[in-house]
Amino acid sequence: SQQGEEDPQALSIQEGENATMNCSYKTSINNLQWYRQNSGRGLVHLILIRSNEREKHSGRLRVTLDTSKKSSSLLITASRAADTASYFCATGAIIQGAQKLVFGQGTRLTINP
């Protein structure tokens, strides 16, 4: 079963606009990670935010984490056609001594040129 719920399920915007994707989760976490997946490929790690952090930046990416609301958001600024992909949030935790990374259902992002 999947921990995270992502919103929206699909997002289509014009090139140059900003894209915001949201993720909510249910249990305690050590970190929250965002991954990107192009069609027919594996997932690529984008950014990790620890549970004691509130905001993190990496290039055109900005991630926020609100542990009181159990939610996170990923903002991609100045979007490009090459950003078209599916984006997944994943919660990381140690459960019974084992690492566990649980993914959400993903947001399909389409950037129109």
């Binding site: 990670q33 790690h45 997944f88 935790a93 019974q96 001594g97 084992a98 690492q99 993914f103 993903g106």
Partner: protein
């Protein structure tokens, strides 16, 4: 190698056949994960290894699924008596010894189609 390698890239099996999917993680990566991804869905956790020890197999859907990593490097996911509902992409990922705050590095997956 540069990244996680999975083989075969595509596998077609007739219902009832056994299949074996291979994963070569990044050299030196202690942790190895298997995920199952249905079309249009997020990856679902199957099992986790730390070196050769299988610490969590709670996600394996039935006793037809079996994973091993005998020498703590290459891993094999075996599915016995395949069923149509086993059709999916099977993703392998590894991470460095930095523990829970290490990102996962994924292979491109094996797409299994059971006919």
């Amino acid at each position: 190698g540069a990244g996680v390698s999975q083989s075969p890239r595509y596998k077609v099996a007739k219902r009832g056949q056994d299949v074996a999917l291979r994963c070569d993680p990044i050299s030196g990566h202690v942790s190895l994960f298997w995920y199952q991804q249905a079309l249009g869905q997020g990856p679902e956790f199957l099992t986790y290894f730390q070196n050769e020890a299988q610490l969590d197999k709670s996600g394996l859907p039935s006793d037809r699924f079996f994973a091993e990593r005998p020498e703590g490097s290459v891993s094999t996911l075996k599915i016995q008596r395949t069923q149509q509902e086993d059709s999916a992409v099977y993703l392998c990922a590894s991470s460095s010894p930095r523990g829970i705050n290490s990102p996962l590095h994924f292979g491109n997956g094996t797409r299994l189609t059971v006919t």
